[in-house]
Symmetry: C2
Subunit: 124 residues, 2 copies
Amino acid sequence: MNNMKKEAINIKDKFGKFSEQWSPKIIAQMNDYHFKLARVKGYFTWHDHKDTDEVFLVIKGELRIDFKDGSVTIREGEMFVVPKGVEHKPFAEKECKILIVEPAGTVNTGDAGGNQTTENNIWI
Amino acid sequence: MNNMKKEAINIKDKFGKFSEQWSPKIIAQMNDYHFKLARVKGYFTWHDHKDTDEVFLVIKGELRIDFKDGSVTIREGEMFVVPKGVEHKPFAEKECKILIVEPAGTVNTGDAGGNQTTENNIWI
C-alpha cells in the first residue's frame, strides 16, 4: 500500500470546492460506501431508498427531515439514520452543510426521479 | 416504520456518556455498519483489519496514525480512511475524540489481540 495517500480529508476545505445545492460530492470511499458533502437549502423531493439506510450528519446549520408521520430536526454536530424504504423529504430554511454516508451509486432522489436528480459520482 | 425514533443523535452529548479511552461505543447503525465514538490517548497497538476499510473522523483534538512507511495527522473536522489490510497504529498526545465507521462486529485490535482489545457491541 505504498500508494496510499497519507493526507487527511478536511471537510471545511472540501466545502470550499463547490457551491451548488442539492448536489452531493464524494470526498471518501470506505469499502463500497461513499462519504459525500452537500449544501442544501429549501425543500428536496419526497423519496426513499429501497435498498439502503442513509446517514445524515450536519456539519453546519440545521436540517429538517419530514416523514409521512412526523419529522426530525438535525442540528450541527448531530446525525440521523433514515432507514431503508422510509419516505423522507429533507428541508433547510437556510443553507445547511451536511455529510451523507450511503452505498456508492446511490441516487439522491432514490426512485422518485425528477429535476433534483443529480450526477452521483463526482469526487472533489 | 411507525416505530422509527425521530430523534437526532447528538455526538457531543454521547461523549458525555462515557470516559474510558480506547473503548469505542456504538451510537448508530446504517445497514451492517456501526458508527462509534471513542476517546483515545497515548499509543494503540499495531493492527490491521483484513476485510475492511476503517474511517476515522476527528471530532475534537488531534489523532496521528502511524503506518509502516509514514504517518498521517488528522485534526478536528478532518477524516481519513485506513484501507483494509494496512497495518496502523493510532496515537494521540492529548485525549482526542473520534468517530469511527466500520462494519458491525469489527474488533478494535483486528487480529492483533492484546490487552487493548475491548467489547465491540456496546451502545450508548
